[in-house]
Amino acid sequence: MPRDTGIGAATLRREDVRFLTGTGEYTDDIVLAKQTYAVFARSTVAHGKIKSIDTSAAAQMPGVLAVFTGDDFVDVGGNPAGWLINSRDGEPMKEPKRPVLAHGKVRHVGDAYAAVIAETVEQARDAVEAIEADIEELPAIIDMNAALSSSTYVHDEIETNQCFDWGWIEDNREATDTAIKNAHHVTTLELVNNRLVPNAMEPRASIGSYKASTGEYTLHTTSQNPHLTRLLISAFVLGIPENMLTVIAPDVGGGFGSKIYHYGEEALVLAAAKQVGRPVKWTADRTESFLTDAHGRDHVTKIELALDAEGNFLAFRTDTKANVGAYLSNFSTATPTFLHGTLMGGNYTVPLVYVNVKAVFTNTAPVDAYRGAGRPEATYSIERVIDKAARELGMDPIELRRKNFVKPDQYPYASAAGLEYDAGNYDALMDKMEEVADISGFEARRKASEAKGLMRGLGVNAYIEACGIAPSNLVGVLGSRVGLYDAATVRVNATGNISVMVGAHSHGQGHETAFPQVVSDMLGIDASTIDIVHGDTSKIPFGMGTYGSRSLAVCGSAVVRATEKIIVKAKKIAAHMLEVTDQDISLNDGVFSVEGTNKSVTFGEVALKAYIPHDYPLESIEPGLEETAFYDPANFTYPSGAYACEVEVDPETGKVRVDRMCAVDDFGNVINPMIVTGQVHGGLAQGIGQALVEQTFYDEYGQLLSASYMDYTMPRADDLPMFQVDHSQGTPCVHNPLGVKGCGEAGAIGSPPTVVNAVVDALQSGGHNITHIDMPVTPVRVWEAMQNAK
């Protein structure tokens, strides 16, 4: 039957039609009756004491309906951190309040201290200019080292700029130190994992509305996880009862992590809607996005790798300072710790791992999970130091990795960093990568580049990540304040078509196409009769949303469980209709039949019976055919991969061009290979962007000099090659029903070290003694490095 729309089919995306015809509906496209507009007054200094804010003139401006300042929100809660991290000494992390609007101090350029609601955007903008804020500029805390020794604090009440000092695994600390001290060889590398601005193409936007007659609030917002946003607003910030708040995330133009989090603007438009009695809309402009979206990465790391004489890995020791910015964003404390430290064993049988992470407050935008979230940082450190070690030991970088890989017969493998890898085959990935990337042809290509006067380099990489986050009981032990299950409701309508309500949110991932493929495959009915409902808390079960490559592994598993329940019940109904027991019923291609007989009923007939229960055993079966399942995974999933990159470097200008980029990934089973490939492409572009062009630059005063596309380089079509992508080597995840692992972040995790390894290789081939160069590897950095290496 409909195998062309089932699991494994490259089904074309149904959501494309609306996007291609301009009929998608993004938040800013929505016009609510009598809507008004919010514009925020934002700090132009990185750090300042708010001495007074006079809004009286602004309030009198034409069209102005209300003006808010931090004073209006002192009695409500703050936007919390979702993960409690304890320092090595057992002390809980510092958690300064993050208010809706800045109060007392402004703490980064762009920090909102007031907001105007007016009839039009321009009127609100005019009024914002009329707000008289007396803000005394304070010294800006920008550099992390300076922050740790400074007596000026981002948050005065905590009297330190250190959020926490975390050790993982603390019991391994001394043994790791000893192993490094006694090792045959230790390779050390200091590196920066550069701060990135996520830059979803749709800027954040929110519309708050309020119905006075019932007390119900509705928030339309650019969110990856509407239930999480509702929970945060209800339980922590505004105290609106959850059942009185509907959060709707309509079409969302990309997230990459930045739209996981709750932001103050969402709370403001809700509170303002109640006060002015009309809907309030806010849409960020791009510079506002640069200044206030949660940024990513920003680690400064020293990593050491100890090896024995044969090249066996003995220990990884990492010292990292992680910038959390001015306030703790929702997952900001999990990202540099459990999403980073637990991966510091990589794909390798290294017996000892120790990671120290100091999280630092600075007068910069908050930093949180961005595509990959902690795993890119881990992979970059590990794979760069391995590459350097190979060079120091004169070993082939592929062979050094292979020598230390966890082998297929070692699963489940307890990594030295505390995770249990369930499945994988890293040698198979490396084999496939060598084939797809044509590693054996590299030397000939290098000669061809040299003939053109260009230096050519080859970089390779092996990565592992942890996705499908994850078991609630495990993350609870590790400090998470939320559960990490997901949910799905499968509603079979009377006429046999199906609505699947899911907790995951699709903002580019193609859930509307891929999830029906799963249900179609299980029920044997055509996917075109199955639709996905997502993004509206009034319609969907309580799910945790989309991030960490978790949608299919977690929410997809919930869809499977709910569909299994549908099948169980439908078989009972079919058994009644066919006058047999339900054990006698089998379901094939959408038909319930009794084996060895010609008795059968179709799926549609069973559905109709469920809703028109005349002649129905009501004593044993309820009417209706609708089931909900919550799925909480048993473990993370562990995608892995082997990547190769070839670059050409222009020795005169330092410009790096990626000529070939190959990604071979193990995502376990694949539901829609077309979508999976597209996810890898996007990740690769973001990873290459991080490696080569994306630079978030705060000056010493805390001014973000790269606050628009004039200075923040987004990878463009002509910066990138066609990619070679393969996912034929999947080892199915052993603990979720689909055997899937997650593919959303892999490209962004695997590619940065691959690119930088290739650049270093190119420079070495050109006779430049350069062993490391920090990202982004811009032309000027390469050129300056070549001058300094002379």
């Binding site: 291609l20 301009g22 969302v252 996007g682 572009a685 004039m710």
Partner: protein, 161 residues
């Protein structure tokens, strides 16, 4: 306020605009054509690309009053007469040339302008032409492939998967 009249997707429209009203705002807010998106303030992302008198322009960097009397085409007017996807739109779907969809209208309009100027562009020419259209989702691979396929070229050899 001044009155502007123009043809949008073949239909005569008019409206009262301020001097500062951008063409993108006129299309989105006055005409309800929200397919044209605004993704930046500096004329770089290209989500707002429309055609004015047959030429691709960034509608966020042109005043509505400057389009007075012009023929404007937006993504909403690109389908075939029967409402089906046109050859470019269909190629984007066939080759998975979009993910979140936000940059897509601009990509489709730029692709249409490119193929009008250059009916069978090379990969390099497509990439160069897209200099003013930023996509954060796709890595451009499938967009380039889709545009080349829409031009009638065989793309089966382009790094298939």
């Amino acid at each position: 306020m001044t009155k502007v009249t123009m043809t949008v997707n073949g239909k005569a429209v008019s409206g009262d605009v301020e001097g500062r009203t951008l063409l993108s705002a006129f299309l989105r807010e006055d005409q309800g054509l929200t397919g044209t998106h605004v993704g930046c303030d500096t004329s770089q992302c290209g989500a707002c690309v429309v055609h004015v008198n047959g030429k691709a322009v960034k509608s966020c960097t042109m005043f509505a009053s400057e389009a007075n009397g012009a023929a404007v085409d937006t993504v909403e007017g690109q389908t075939n007469a029967d409402g089906s996807l046109n050859v470019i739109q269909q190629a984007f779907q066939d080759h998975h040339g979009l993910q979140c969809g936000f940059c897509t209208p601009g990509m489709v309009m730029s692709a249409a302008a490119l193929l009008k100027e250059n009916p069978t562009p090379s990969e390099a020419e497509v990439r160069e032409y897209l200099e003013g259209n930023i996509c954060r989702c796709t890595g451009y691979h499938n967009i380039v492939k889709a545009i080349m396929a829409a031009s009638g070229q065989d793309v089966s050899a382009i790094a298939a998967e």
